[in-house]
Symmetry: C2
Subunit: 600 residues, 2 copies
């Protein structure tokens, strides 16, 4: 596995080939980009400069570049365009876009993203280290670079509230040695006492790799504890004050803009209003829905948005490129357009309306006009990555019932999860619901729905509760994507509706189901690990749009309703979450009862 | 040798001890610094903050720090003072100060320098890898941190113009694995075709360590070749234009301020006048004479000077701290005052008149009022590091003669080296000199002196030429410190004077001799490797001052005349140099004759 390696990355021999060609005067460029306005992320300037590429690398930048053109050289006329380095997303959970790495790579490259940092935790949680190898290897056969983060999350999962047990600490210790591994992913404060986590941090540090942090909220002595643990970054800031305090503490700010968390604007106020050095900031997606990826873009969207809220264009490009490369200590290979770097270059007509016109990765043109040039071969997935959902054949409404102690109760006061648009943080509330034969009933009219999580690894454990914010007035929705380890989650207007939708997802062996009156009105098949489609982005968005429309036809108004549903199950982000083991109060890290009080 | 390690460095266990103490509420600080104005190098702010230290680390910064004081806690009152991180010199050839590492550490710590990057190349060139181990181990027993640069220079030396052969590429390959090694030192463009150098760069890159560059001048295709080689920094810039072009190319600028090269002011104009981001700049000494170290200071002097020429104080402190730590990728351990970092802290009363008042290293107060607190035990050097000068017992004036072809010649036109104050770059000129019995005579009246380099490793090879700029009107000066590999160099008014002074240095087994009329008028013993005294800085400066005064009494007006003399022998810095093999024209990398023309 040591050979899992980004093309051209750390490839000192490719550099030496260039040294020999330059020294001997025999250099002939494969590509010369002429007349572009170079966005120099080191000197923070924009000026006209030609760029000569040879093999996967940038050979020469400047006046003399065109002298290395021969009759075989491809000349790219960049007059009127800006040249920026290929963009780097520093934290992106890839399965959340439901695409295979091959299809994802084509979609991201088309938008100017040439590298992503990802941990493939979903792959590991569902099917163990071998699945991570398959996914990473698939990605590394594309021109997209993957700054592999060793997925601490695949081992920690939702402990103590859920774990598939598929990834062991020793697996992670081995992954740290992989060449593509640049970091240990997502060290959270509550993991600080785990000796395995400590051993992983120690090894990461010794290997001079990056310890990526994850800290929701930022106050109290826990902060000092987490800092001492060695975390160097965080992507959970939600406002400028939090970002400001983290910068003071030496933490690199990962400004997140994804489907379920839209923090970029608030976080960047720490720069625009409080004057912090933009060099401490980078961008990430975390999770993005394919509809948004297609409609808004990826890193290009973040750059546009940052500029739009007052970040100077060069600073925004730096956040998307060199800052990210320095953060992962890969700035000797990527992050800027300078001689010796891998040739990952984006041509854009207008910096403020940042849209990739031509994209070069590893020295080759990979996208033009927002389209990937050509097609990458599709992978064949091994059988162990299909048919991963193990749930009993008979699922009934009664499996999902929330019961009162007294079967004669008529009303029950219950804890409810309150979901909010644009945030992974859920609120906590109290509602009073009717009870029939000892079963508490949801009240769709008041936007209080049934929500359940079903273990998909054979235990058939089911946890149920109530939630507001989804506004279904009929039917149910189920999906095989409740992190972590990607259990099934379902929401609906009755226990029977929930049972029906969940059964259908089980039958499909993964995907989304929207049902009404116990009929499927839309579905989205995700046969790979129960997480991914084999269709390309355009097809996926069409299917997902149909499913989303169906979801909305039932009353839901959330922007990314499937994604929002997933994160109501994740008990490491406040405040109240539903798991296969029941409700979890995240602040106290304890299970709590759904029923608070009941009346006959 | 893997255990050669800075105290507290990369020490994840020490961090975990703090995590446990904080998490359990049992933390009691060893030291609390109260009421100081924290210079926050991350947020570029200055504000009041307390700092609690435990063991070697900073446990907590801010409001809550003082809550961790107990009756055993040492309280340091910092009211009215600024707290800056301990300073880091990114490139310092330690033997050039003639001190042992123990004595040097005390001197530097007293001035607020808590870490230096050094390669110990002089140790290696004279006595091989074993001597480097001895020197590095000695340093690591002190509270000073050494960011060990693997000394490429100890292998390359002056090739093809001189090499002691004591350090092999395989020795360097092994050193790269040492824990204290953070970088490969001084990759120069002309070494790019050496397969050993390439293998070293490859290994350095794989280990995610830093490839330190060295590039004199910065134009032509050699630039692209060197950039492709992978060098990430350079300390040879002499003006703002050169620094500017390097920043554009992604090179980190090491602004040098030492005894033989005073570039800081010119280089920093790239920031003050051309608006470059100060985060791309760090400071180094390269070589500093003990007299200057004592009179001016070390990193404190560079910070003062930078502020004085218009660099904002916080930026100057960043250049001396966090920028350096990031450059060597050790910013998880040093470079800022934040929880989890090693407690290296400097208290200064006035940022502009930057003078260390109290210095903390590894959590302990090591200096107060410019004095090291207490004394470090002096090392015992092994015998192989003494008596290292192997030159024949009989050295005569005729060994140093420059001869014409025709013994009847009366006048000769000769190439002369032109030394200049404040620069390592020498000029090249032509002079006409008298010839007697076939021997060309220097002309001290016209400031044209004899200069010779003598191999000290047994070959007795001697190269001689003529030089202006030293202005001796009588006598001679010799020293055992001609880089690299630290041959003897002598300058004088006649061949006999030169022979006398050189003989005396041989007899002393290392040091400086100033002589007149073949009598020693001052000397300075350097018994360790022929390079270092065992005296502390105060004693060394007194001795060296006497020797310098004697040097000046002979007419020399250079600021650091011994250091200037050394560098007239170094054939990797332009333009004309003297070596044991004769004159070297550095531009063409060729030996040239001293005598250009002769007339009878």
């Amino acid at each position: 596995m040591k050979n899992l390696f980004n093309e051209g990355f750390n490839d000192v021999r490719e550099r030496h080939r260039l040294v020999d060609l330059i020294d001997s005067g025999r250099l002939k460029a494969d590509v010369v980009i002429k007349g572009g306005k170079l966005v120099n992320v080191h000197s923070s300037e924009i000026y006209e400069a030609d760029v000569a590429l040879s093999g996967t690398r940038i050979a020469i930048v400047g006046e003399e570049a065109k002298a290395f053109a021969s009759s075989k050289t491809r000349i790219l006329n960049a007059e009127g365009a800006f040249l920026t380095p290929g963009m780097i997303d520093v934290h992106y959970h890839v399965a959340g876009t439901y695409l295979t790495m091959t299809n994802l790579a084509m979609s991201l490259l088309a938008r100017g993203t040439t590298a992503i940092a990802s941990d493939f935790y979903e792959y590991g949680a569902v099917a163990g280290p071998k699945a991570i190898e398959v996914g990473l290897a698939e990605a590394l056969r594309t021109p997209l670079k993957v700054l592999f983060n060793v997925p601490l999350l695949a081992y920690i999962q939702n402990d103590p509230f859920g774990n598939s047990g598929k990834v062991k600490p020793e697996d992670l210790m081995e992954m740290l040695d992989w060449d593509a591994a640049v970091a240990l992913g997502e060290v959270q404060p509550q993991t600080g006492s785990d000796p395995h986590v400590r051993a992983l941090i120690e090894k990461t540090t010794k290997l001079r790799k990056t310890v990526v942090g994850h800290y929701v909220g930022f106050h109290g002595p826990g902060v000092a504890s987490w800092l001492n643990l060695g975390a160097t970054s965080d992507h959970e800031s939600v406002d400028s004050e939090e970002a400001f305090q983290k910068v003071r503490s030496g933490v690199r700010i990962v400004a997140r803009e994804g489907s379920a968390a839209v923090d970029l604007m608030n976080v960047l106020r720490a720069v625009t209003e409080r004057g912090l050095d933009p060099r401490r900031f980078v961008f990430c997606t975390d999770e993005v829905d394919p509809l948004e990826l297609k409609a808004l873009g990826h890193m290009d969207y973040k750059v546009r948005k940052a500029i739009n809220i007052g970040i100077p264009p060069i600073s925004a490009v730096q956040m998307a490129t060199i800052n990210a490369a320095e953060y992962y200590r890969v700035d000797n290979d990527i992050g800027s357009i300078t001689a010796g770097k891998i040739a990952d270059i984006v041509m854009v007509k207008d910096l403020r309306d940042f849209k990739a016109q031509t994209v070069i990765a590893n020295g080759r043109v990979v996208a033009e006009g927002g389209k990937y040039v050509g097609r990458l071969p599709q992978p064949r997935f091994p059988e162990f990555m299909r048919r991963t959902i193990h749930i009993k054949p008979s699922l009934k409404g009664s499996d999902f019932a929330v019961r009162t102690r007294n079967v004669k109760a008529t009303r029950a006061k219950v804890n409810i999860i309150k979901a909010h648009e644009g945030s992974l943080i859920t609120g906590r509330g109290i509602a009073t619901l009717n009870v029939e034969k000892g079963v508490v009933l949801p009240n769709p009219k008041k936007d209080i729905l049934k929500v359940s999580v079903i273990d998909r690894y054979g235990s058939n454990q089911i946890g149920s509760g109530f939630m507001s914010g989804f506004q279904l007035h009929q039917g149910a929705v189920a999906e095989s994507f409740a992190p972590v380890p990607e259990y099934l989650v379902a929401i609906g207007c009755s226990d029977d509706e929930v049972a029906f939708a969940a059964s259908k997802v089980r039958d499909m062996q993964g995907g989304f189901v929207v049902s009404a009156d116990q009929k499927v009105i839309a579905d989205f098949h995700l046969p790979i690990l129960g997480l991914m489609s084999e269709d390309p982005l355009d097809q996926v968005t069409r299917t997902l749009q149909r499913a989303t429309d169906a979801y909305r036809s039932l009353g839901c108004r959330l922007k990314s309703p499937f994604l929002s549903l997933m994160f109501t199950t994740y008990p490491l982000i406040p405040k109240l979450k539903i798991t296969q083991g029941g409700l979890v109060d995240v602040d106290s890290m304890k299970h709590i009862d759904v029923v608070v009080d009941e009346k006959s």
